[in-house]
């Protein structure tokens, strides 16, 4: 048998496939009140660290956010320069820009780290596309049990990974720098 039968395969660039599957271009609002597009403004061409939280979350968010503050300290001025942190609320109906601004100030987050809210359907779409949902709907509905992972992306290099938000801050920082720097340092042509 030969491959004579014509078959219409599409040549979709891999970067575009990742965008379609995982990086919807929904509109979000930052804790500074600015309207942004998730893909175009926050992810495209950037190195990013993404997690989900909500302001009144008392279980996994406090240790993860405290950990991320330590990670931000370890990464120094890289955050905001070429690495960006995004914390997206799971409860956009409760967490407006004002609440998120207070939350960010309370935790002493530095520049280069945005807290994000948006229309509930958009945020839900984003949560699922980014892989922060459970297969079991009952488990998934329990927001107090939400996924405490950090997602790392080096978007132009098609490189994505994730790490528990409660891992050691130093290891998280090391991992972020590998994801951010190794592709250009060791992986470029």
């Amino acid at each position: 048998m030969t491959k004579a039968r014509p078959h219409a395969f599409q040549k979709i660039p891999p970067r575009e496939l990742i965008r379609r599957r995982h990086l919807p271009n929904v509109e979000l609002i930052t804790h500074h009140g600015k309207r942004v597009r998730f893909y175009d403004d926050l992810v495209k061409g950037k190195k990013v660290v993404i997690n989900f939280m909500y302001a009144h979350c008392g279980k996994v968010c406090p240790p993860v956010i405290a950990n991320l503050v330590r990670v931000q300290g370890l990464l120094r001025d890289r955050v905001g320069h070429d690495i960006f942190f995004y914390s997206i609320t799971l409860k956009p109906e409760e967490d407006g820009p004002e609440e998120l601004k207070n939350y960010a100030e309370m935790h002493g987050v530095g520049p280069g780290w945005l807290f994000l809210t948006g229309r509930p359907n958009d945020v839900e779409l984003l949560r699922r596309a980014l892989g922060f949902s459970y297969a079991d709907p009952a488990e998934d509905a329990d927001k107090s049990n939400h996924i405490g992972m950090l997602r790392f992306g080096n978007e132009p290099f098609l490189r994505w990974a994730a790490c528990p938000g409660q891992a050691h801050a130093k290891w998280i920082a090391t991992t972020i720098l590998e994801e951010a720097d190794f592709p250009a340092r060791y992986g470029a042509k």
């Binding site: 048998m1 491959k3 078959h7 395969f9 599409q10 040549k11 979709i12 891999p14 970067r15 496939l17 990742i18 379609r20 599957r21 995982h22 919807p24 271009n25 929904v26 893909y39 279980k59 996994v60 359907n121 958009d122 779409l125 984003l126 699922r128 596309a129 892989g131 922060f132 459970y134 297969a135 079991d136 709907p137 049990n145 996924i147 405490g148 992972m149 997602r151 080096n154 132009p156 290099f157 098609l158 994505w160 990974a161 994730a162 790490c163 528990p164 409660q166 891992a167 050691h168 130093k170 290891w171 090391t174 991992t175 590998e178 190794f182 592709p183 060791y186 992986g187 470029a188 042509k189």
Partner: protein, 654 residues
Amino acid sequence: MYRTIFGEKVSRARWKQLLNAQKNRREIIKAGLSRRELFKMGLLSGAGYLVAKSGLSAWAAECGPGQCQLGCSPPTTPFLDPLPIMPVLPERTLADPGFDPPPQECPNNANNPATGLPFEGRGQFNGVLQPGTDCFQFFQRFPPEKFFISRMRENANFSLTSDPAIPDQTIWGFNQGGEDPLTDPAIFPAPTVVSRYQTPIVIRRFNDLPPQDQNGGFGVPETSTHLHNFHSGPESDGGPCRFFFRGQYYDYYYTMQQAGFDADSPPNGDIRESMSTLWYHDHRVDHTAENVYKGLAGFHLIFNQFDTGDESTGFHLPGHLNPDGTPKFDFDIPLFVADKLIDPGTGQICFDTFGLDGLVGDTFLVNGKIQPFFEVKKRRYRFRVLDGGPSRFYEIFVTNPDNPSQVIPFWVIANDGNLLPKPVQVTSFRLSVAERYDIIIDFNKIARDFGATRLWLENRLEQVNGRAPTDKILPAGQIQNALVELRIVGDPVADGSVDPATGPQFYALPSNSDNDPNAQPRITRTFRFERSNGQWAINGRFMDCNDIRFTVQRNSIEKWILLNNSGGWQHPIHNHLEEFQILSTNGVSTPNGSVERSRKDVVRLGFNDRRELFFRFRDFRNDYPMHCHNTIHEDHAMMVLWDVQDTGDNNTRP
């Protein structure tokens, strides 16, 4: 404005469909339909989730171009292609240009002017050069006698099937060591490494993978090649933190001695620790799943004076050798089983780099082909069956598709590539990621007793997501569950192999008896495999290359208790350096004569299981991992590093 799951604008019609789906779900909940009723209506999967049907789940995307999910791969015609047999990695001399500069005991970290990196990647830990580390242990005692080269590369013309539904693929693989990619392309599964005990070897592996942004959507061109279950120093083990970069090579040195050579069984180790069927695969921390899934894996077989590769000698296991000592693969056949997802738009194998649960494919490859066929003669064959992952569990039966109700027995002779004390007759076996079962099927007897002219190795275990199998056994004879079709041809032929029914004895198990003064654990350690807020943990902690969590005393015995505190997840747990014996499962001793009364390197943690393992840790020093071999769990930190030194610690819950 209307948007889909991609955030794209959609028609008002599709938007209404999504709204309807939400409404339907609410109505199901409101109607209070029981799980049983939902199941009967076909709306609930065996695992208890609402099936991802459009019109039911608003978030279930339609299968279409760009989708990478279970059930969306293009259907293919089975049994079109013959089963490939992987070539044997050829031996090379040190005069080969690939050995310039030559292998050395301590890493060659001199700067390679062509790349600006050290020539060799050995001596780097988590990408950082650590001068003075990772010299080969026992190199002077067992100097290498045979040398091999293999290059990791992309292959953009790799055919999975002659079915035109699937185009040629771009994969990563290993080649046979040549420099020219046209004459010596990288392949999956990789060339089979064949070695013999007491003949030490060096394999130089080059990382010639493409740049990161040319990965086709997944794969990281930083690699560490683990020889799964071999007894080697960390500098040759290919652990998670010892990855190397494009443009570098890494010399892997294997003493080819059995465990115990510098402990209880000098000078060459304990013959009862001989291994037969191993595999090698990438192990780069955080990125193992995508790299192995992309093709960086193959078999490594070891022979000795008993498991000789020649059925006229030793244990008389099926097969013959070529004059150069390599297997003919006439009646001894490695089977690399892997499940894949294929994007229906591009026709390319796809991988979800955003998934956390595990990836379960709907397209079965055996030795790199989709559902191949294999012609067998009327005699006994040895098959070495490997689950290459990333996440699926299998229950493999021998099915007569022309009479699926027949229950066909066969023999297991090795668990995780280690010969059992004697063959065990079974009608199926459970296989989780990285496990290997060597089985013997007697096609002459089956043709005679069952009238079969063809047989399938069939996976009848239901699994609908990466978390665990449902443990439901599916009906026999379903073509989509066939892994390979074995076509019985010709008249009965000469068979010089041992009949497992005669009860041949292989290696006895090393003692683990409570009454044996030489089998007393120095310490018992407990490990709980768990998940909290979607984070995979061992004893509440996470993988960290810089955190070595406990120290085993070199040349001592330990008992490890592994716990799965979940009824929703299963984990195949793998430990490096030394294999183990399973003492008990949920308080019940491993029965004599069972396939688990064996030496193993992967233990399945079923729902809420408690399993006790017996280890001897011998010979080598320094750091190794234990981890879940559902490689998606592994990449998300379900791994612990430990150390071997001359003094051990007393940490019972590391």
